[in-house]
């Protein structure tokens, strides 16, 4: 059970949060101009890597805010937490 440091509320138990999958997948601005393959790439394709992964989390039973998390999926360590719209930390590429 993770301890997640919500950027708005502070450290809370994982049970207060819900996961929103991979982060930094931007919804295309003009979906109608995309081919089926390009749209499918946005819609379905996720990396699901073992190692350092950028994820979206929502403090669902708290402030309801979405934010980003850098997590090492191999040991579940959360390395960094940052707000929506902020640039991802560069040292975890």
């Amino acid at each position: 059970m993770f301890l997640i440091n919500c950027p708005f509320c502070g450290e809370r138990d994982q049970s207060e949060f819900s996961s929103g999958g991979e982060a930094h997948i931007v919804r295309p601005k003009q979906p109608t101009e995309l081919s089926d393959d390009e749209w499918a790439e946005y819609l379905f394709m996720r990396k699901n890597i073992k190692g350092i992964q950028f994820e979206r989390w929502n403090h669902a039973h708290g402030c309801r805010k979405w934010f980003n998390v850098v997590r090492d999926t191999s040991n579940d360590k959360i390395l960094s937490v940052y707000k929506m719209g902020e640039k991802p930390p560069v040292n975890y590429k």
Binding site: G20, P28, Q30, T32, L34, A60, R64
Partner: protein, 1000 residues
């Protein structure tokens, strides 16, 4: 009655006799006993039958690792517990325990016949035997297996006990109150760290607390005396919490641990009453120190499972802690020094004993001490067989060959009434591995040890492979100082004398002249797997330890192989000719020892099991005989049976009344989201398929919401309250998900939009009145409101007051009738409802539930998201192309509506179905085909909604059918168990296609 309590100890109060029943017979123990020590004091070793062969089994150990002494406690229907380890259960007055897995009784057990046919039931017997004939499985094999499976009996009635949960945070958690745990806890707490020390026993001290050998001393005191002093010291520390009778069940990531505290299991019945039985501690610790110790290993030789054969160290504990001797003529069989401590203790209490040592020789102080006391030692000997059915009475030993692979010379037969085995020690690495830690293998003494890899967790003491006292104290102190980044000097000058040596001769499967196939060398006592089974599994091609485990069931019983796993691994390694360290171990999974369900559930039972949401009108529904339906967490009236009506009759009556005159529905549970902000219209444009910018203030519009994959997600009517203010309604079950989806888009994709969302579902109560007379009823309630179709047309909204309370009234319809939804602040909901009912009396206003609502909307072909859709339906599949804007640039899911798959013509599409026999009602979920002759039968779709319509006097149904849109008028077949039902594909709207009733 024999009495094996031979001396006084400080842990047993002999003056306080405790009576208990075992297998129906009354015995006496003393305060401080466990059930196991009390039984042994009465000379009882035989406590159960093994799982497969029903061999007589006795107490083996004195702790959590016990495989044999598991009992059924209590015999009430609601208060009985199976698989309780007698070695852990503290004795109390009136305790009733019985042995398990035997019939008619433990001494004469019919299943014992399995022992004689054991050559016929090898490893994998079940897999190999119950394969054929196929028809035998259900009628013969399964009932037979079920009859013989399982060890104890479950209670059949709800548990009346109280359980509790507690959340705690600590700087340091120390698991295990033995010598290293006590040192660690003292060091942490003295350095201002908030510390929790837990131990599963009644008192702290581990195995050192009864250690009284002169050869082992600390600061010139006996080690138990020294430790007692330490315990007194730590009890004074203010920031140390000590929890005894508390065992860690699970160690999860982020140092989150679950512990079970036993509060009343050791109390007599009358003192248990109204108290919390067990408490689950949910512990968050910044740092965790694991000091769980180690358990002694048995030795694997022929007939090593007879009652009277125990672990050597357990014999020592029963003697020095409980004052009980396990026999009068004891043999200790060992491969290391530990058994000598037991031997010397026994000797000092006057118990005759001798030692059989696998080693060729050994010269530590302990051994010299034993020799000087005149204790007979057989060096380089091995036990090859034991005798005695219900209890051991003699054994045979033989000399070991030079390489230890065979026996040489003649058998020597020795008589005894108890045998102690010591195969060395296994560090308890369960906690370390549960937390994700990896293991290293130490070849010297064949143990798996924690591989330190975390700054939040450390293992100290014998669970870290430090077995002698000097090592334990020195290493623990150094490691704790480093781990906690402190500089504690308390143990700087501690003087330790420990003359035990860590030398051992490890042979996993001891040699024997008898072929392996004719021996019974048990590895897993509880599941009856033998060395032969392991070898058979290897012969049959199993290689992975995980596979061998499952095939032979080694380590799969309630003790989870605490005594057996290492031997299984060792024998596999030896047989396969690989290094044991390369095999790895099976996975250590929580819980460490079994937990009761009660502990896990805590207080969340009965009405606290789940949140129940009720509308303001709920009490009225109850008074009016409503049957309720669960919709999400909501309780919704399903139908209101009158005068003994069944569901069908009630629904028919309610449905007819609503269309003939008027009906009223509690619609409070519909999700309501308040949407405000200058970009509210643009936001709705993006989340719904249709256009919203041009919706006038005071008007309502139906919207369909898709997922980004183009599939229908939710629907509902949204009202424009003012320029920048909307009220959205969602389905009852979808409300929370819709809100979080909308928040997601607002916060992450479109943060530039000025929109604020608030869930107001519980703020308003809603009464929905429909039917030809609804307008007249509204007029009575709101006499000043102009209800004319010109002023207040369908799909519009007005505000008015009901006795000075503001109401929002929407003229919207889910039934196809003229219909008004009155929303009022929730606290007035009950009054509103009663006023509506009163006003509607003269018009036969009939309250109806969700079933009638479903029927009425089906007559009109309105979909229910989640009933007629299942996450694979596009708007087009639902024949709702009219609601998808062609002009809008974008909305959620738009691009997906023309993916190659979503434009397929042969997708499943929503259609109406009419049965050829209008009285025949289809079953929802029934399969639809066009041809029953060609096999395999091609499934075209299924029925999603089906009712008998009292207004049309015929059966109607909605269904999804492949290419259904083009099939109108076509005949299809619904094959049922006994017959085929003929149906015709129809339009989805069955009643009032022209919508005349909306404005009638």
């Amino acid at each position: 009655m024999p009495n094996y309590r031979i001396h006084k100890t400080e842990y047993i109060d002999e003056t306080k006799r405790v009576s208990f029943k075992y297998d129906g017979k009354t015995y006496f123990g003393c305060e401080g006993d466990t059930l196991a020590s009390a039984l042994l004091a009465n000379g009882i070793h035989l406590v159960g039958r093994s799982f497969k062969y029903h061999r007589p089994r006795g107490i083996v150990s004195c702790g959590a690792e016990e495989p044999n002494a598991i009992c059924q406690i209590g015999n009430k229907k609601d208060l009985t517990e199976p698989n309780v380890r007698a070695t852990e259960l503290e004795l109390y007055e009136g305790l009733e325990a019985s042995s398990q897995n035997c019939w008619p009784n433990v001494k004469f057990d019919i299943g014992g016949i399995n022992n004689f046919i054991s050559p016929l039931i090898p490893a994998g017997f079940y897999y190999k035997t119950f394969m054929w004939p196929k028809s035998f499985w259900k009628k013969v094999y399964e009932p037979l297996i079920r009859l013989s499976a399982g060890l104890g009996k479950s209670p059949t009635e709800p548990d009346p006990d109280i359980y509790d949960h507690k959340h705690v945070h600590y700087d340091v958690l120390v698991i295990g109150g033995g010598i290293s745990g006590i040192i660690a806890a003292k060091m942490a707490a003295k350095n201002n760290l908030k510390t929790l020390l837990v131990d599963d026993k009644k008192i702290l001290g581990g195995s050192t607390i009864y250690q009284n050998n002169e050869a082992i001393k600390i600061d010139n005191k006996l080690s138990n005396e020294w430790l007692k002093n330490e315990i007194q010291e730590i009890k004074k520390l203010s920031n140390l919490t000590i929890k005894t009778r508390t065992s860690i069940a699970a160690y999860h990531g982020y140092n989150f641990l679950l512990a079970k505290e036993n509060l009343t299991d050791h109390l007599p019945e009358e003192k248990k009453k109204n108290k919390i039985r067990q408490r689950l501690w949910k512990i968050r610790a910044k740092k965790v120190i694991i000091a769980t110790g180690s358990i002694e290993r048995p030795l694997v030789f022929n007939n090593n499972d007879r009652p009277g054969i125990l672990l050597s160290n357990s014999i020592n504990k029963y003697l020095d802690y409980y004052g009980v001797s396990c026999g009068e003529n004891i043999i200790l069989f060992t491969n290391n020094d530990s058994a000598y401590e037991t031997s010397i203790s026994l000797h000092k209490k006057g118990i005759k004993n001798l030692i059989v040592d696998l080693r060729k020789s050994a010269r530590s102080e302990l051994i010299k001490q034993a020799e000087s006391l005149g204790i007979k030692i057989y060096f380089n000997y091995v036990v090859t067989n034991t005798f005695g059915y219900r209890k051991i009475n003699s054994l045979e030993i033989m000399k070991l060959s030079e390489d230890g692979n065979t026996t040489v010379g003649n058998k020597i037969k020795l008589s005894c009434d108890c045998l102690g085995m010591s195969g060395g020690w296994t560090p308890m690495v369960h906690m370390h591995t549960q937390s994700g830690g990896k293991l290293n293998f130490r070849d010297d003494d064949q143990v798996f040890l924690p591989k330190e890899n975390s700054e939040d967790q450390i293992s100290v003491g014998s669970c870290n492979g430090d077995f002698d006292l000097e090592n334990i104290i020195d290493k623990t102190v150094n490691k704790i100082n480093k781990f906690l980044d402190i500089d504690n000097q308390d143990y700087q000058d501690t003087n330790i004398i420990c003359s035990k040596e860590n030398d051992k001769r490890n042979i996993w499967l001891l040699p024997n002249k008898i072929p392996l196939g004719k021996t019974k060398c048990f590895i897993d006592f509880q599941n009856d797997s033998t060395a032969k089974d392991i070898k058979l599994a290897l012969k049959e091609g199993f290689r992975s330890i995980e596979h061998v485990k499952r095939y032979t069931t080694t380590g799969m019983a309630t003790d989870q192989g605490k005594l057996s796993n290492m031997h299984a691994l060792g024998i596999i390694a030896d047989t396969a000719g690989v290094k044991m360290g390369t095999l790895g171990t099976t996975t250590f999974r929580p819980p460490f020892t079994p937990l009761t369900f009660g502990t896990l559930v805590g207080r969340n039972v009965g009405k606290f099991f789940e949140v129940v949401r009720k509308t303001s009108m709920h009490e009225w529904h109850v008074e009016n005989n409503a049957e309720f339906e669960n919709v999400g967490q909501w309780k919704r009236p399903w139908y209101y049976p009158k005068n003994g009506e069944n569901m069908h009759d009630a629904v028919q009556r309610e449905s007819k009344a609503a269309r003939d005159s008027a009906g009223i529905l509690d619609a409070s549970t519909l999700g309501k989201i308040d949407i405000q902000g200058t970009d509210a219209s643009e936001f709705l444009n993006r989340v719904y398929t249709n256009a919203w910018s041009k919706l006038e203030v005071g008007k309502c519009r139906y919207g369909l919401m898709l997922n980004e994959d183009g599939m229908v997600y939710d629907d509902g009517v949204t009202t424009r309250i003012s320029e920048n203010h909307y009220l959205m309604t969602t389905t009852t079950g979808g409300a929370a998900n819709v809100l979080s989806k909308l928040e997601d888009y607002l916060q992450t994709e479109w943060p530039e939009l000025d929109v604020y969302l608030t869930s107001v579902t519980d703020h308003y109560s809603t009464a929905s009145i429909c039917g030809p007379n609804s307008k007249k009823i509204l007029n009575k309630l709101f006499p000043n409101l102009d209800l004319s179709d010109e002023n207040f047309p369908h799909m519009s909204f007005k505000e008015d007051k009901l006795e000075n309370i503001n109401c929002r009234i929407m003229r919207i319809s889910f039934t196809g009738e003229q219909s008004y939804e009155i929303n009022i602040e929730s606290k007035y909901g009950h009054s509103l409802w009663k006023m509506c009912i009163e006003a509607g009396k003269e018009f036969n206003l009939t309250h109806y539930g969700t079933e009638t609502m479903h029927l009425l909307r089906a007559e009109k072909g309105f979909i229910i998201v989640g009933q007629d859709t299942d996450g694979t339906m596009t708007p087009s599949d639902l024949q709702m192309d009219w609601i998808v804007s062609k002009k809008k640039f974008d909305f959620i899911g738009k691009r997906s509506l023309y993916r190659s798959d979503t434009i397929r013509e042969d997708r499943k599409q929503l259609v109406g179905l009419l049965t050829d026999d209008p009285k025949e009602i289809l079953e929802e979920g029934a399969q639809i085909v066009s041809d029953v002759k060609s096999k395999p039968i091609d499934m075209l779709g299924h029925v999603t909604s089906s009712y008998f319509s009292p207004n049309l006097n015929k059966s109607i149904a909605l269904a999804v059918v492949r290419s259904g849109k083009t099939m109108k008028g076509q005949k299809l077949i619904i094959p049922m168990e006994n017959k085929n039902i003929n149906v015709t594909v129809s339009d989805t709207i069955f009643l009032d296609k022209e919508n005349k009733r909306l404005n009638a």
